[in-house]
């Protein structure tokens, strides 16, 4: 697997994507597609980097909370509000099926994606800690894109390298 993963909201299935799935709003209206690329270079202008572990072409449908702040008004990743959101993710007694922060550079919080499944998914996503940083959009994503990633062990809130989307990554062993 590539060490880099890119995610983007797109209007149609991109032929170059490694995985993609249709999105719907809570009232069932089509909301485009969420696509993922596992490659080093940025595939489309709107793409933001995510934890590669989230991509699973065999993954089931899920509800997602997508935080996508405007690129012109990003908060720095080390801002206390973003730190607090990361702490809240770790403190959650019912961890999400996956969570990844999104990056466009080594300094800023460029959003987050949180996915949940099950009967309480929507209610729990309305408490997405990252929506305290920037507004979140609740959507439903079809199967074929998102897997399940074990929750972080805790309590580390730092990135394993400033260009690695939290909570993924690890330092190389000696």
């Amino acid at each position: 697997m590539s060490e880099r993963c890119w995610l983007a909201l797109v209007d149609a299935v991109p032929p170059t994507a490694d995985a993609s799935a249709a999105l719907r709003t809570p009232d069932g209206a089509p909301a485009g597609w969420l696509a993922a690329w596992l490659q080093g270079s940025k595939p489309v202008r709107a793409a933001r980097r995510a934890d590669p572990r989230i991509v699973d072409p065999d993954g089931a449908a899920a509800a997602i909370s997508l935080v996508l702040p405007d690129r012109a008004a990003l908060t720095i990743f080390d801002d206390p509000a973003v730190q607090g959101a990361r702490r809240a993710v770790l403190a959650d007694a019912e961890p999400a099926d996956l969570v990844t922060t999104l990056l466009i550079d080594a300094s800023h919080f460029a959003g987050s994606l949180t996915a949940r499944r099950g009967p309480n998914a929507v209610a729990l996503l309305r408490d997405d800690p990252f929506r305290r940083v920037s507004p979140a959009t609740l959507l439903f994503v079809d199967g074929g894109l998102l897997g399940t990633v074990p929750p972080p062990v805790g309590p580390v809130i730092e990135r394993h390298g400033s260009d690695v989307p939290w909570p993924g990554g690890r330092f190389p062993a000696i």
């Binding site: 702490r87 007694a93 062990v153 309590p155 580390v156 394993h160 690890r170 330092f171 062993a173 000696i174």
Partner: protein
């Protein structure tokens, strides 16, 4: 206590506080790991020590190290204890006492509930024991400065850039 420094800690697999199966090696994930075993939420000694660890997590959270706590309490009980403490690390549950004897950590004074005897292990990412503390008597547990020292030594050993290249 059977497990001693330089031993390799068994890669146990248990349910976490959310009921998901986790292995110790997966949880270590390349970072130093502090593993604590504790009698249960009801024990005043455990409550006192856990409060110290909760204070410590404000350092650990920026220091690329992990904490895991193991008891015989079932996941829903550990989840409630964890939430009440404000802990942000993983709690493991061994309600079937699967590892009590294998780890030689059966609390012999409680012949009714058979909890874990309190202990603290500082492990390398590949689960080699750097330090082992027998917490049967409260003062056998490490102080936070001892944990800092242990974690410094493990980190120094596993990070190639400990001495920052110039």
């Amino acid at each position: 206590m059977s497990i001693q420094p330089n031993d390799t800690f068994p890669d146990i697999v248990a349910l976490d506080h959310a009921g998901r199966s986790r292995s110790l090696s997966e949880l270590a994930a390349g970072d130093p790991l502090v593993l604590t075993t504790f009698r249960g939420f009801w024990c005043p000694k455990e409550q006192a020590f856990m409060r110290r660890l909760v204070a410590f997590q404000d350092e650990v959270e920026v220091a690329y190290s992990s904490v895991v706590s193991l008891s015989v309490d079932p996941p829903e009980v550990t989840a409630a204890f964890r939430a009440g403490l404000g802990a942000r690390w993983t709690f493991l549950a061994d309600p079937e006492r699967e590892y009590l004897d294998a780890l030689d950590l059966r609390e012999h004074t409680d012949t009714v509930h058979h909890p874990y005897r309190p202990a603290v292990f500082v492990l390398t990412p590949d689960l080699v024991v750097r330090s082992a503390y027998n917490g049967y008597w409260y003062w056998g547990r490490p102080g936070l400065d001892e944990l800092r020292t242990d974690l410094r030594e493990v980190t120094r050993a596993i990070r190639a850039d400990w001495n920052v290249p110039v």
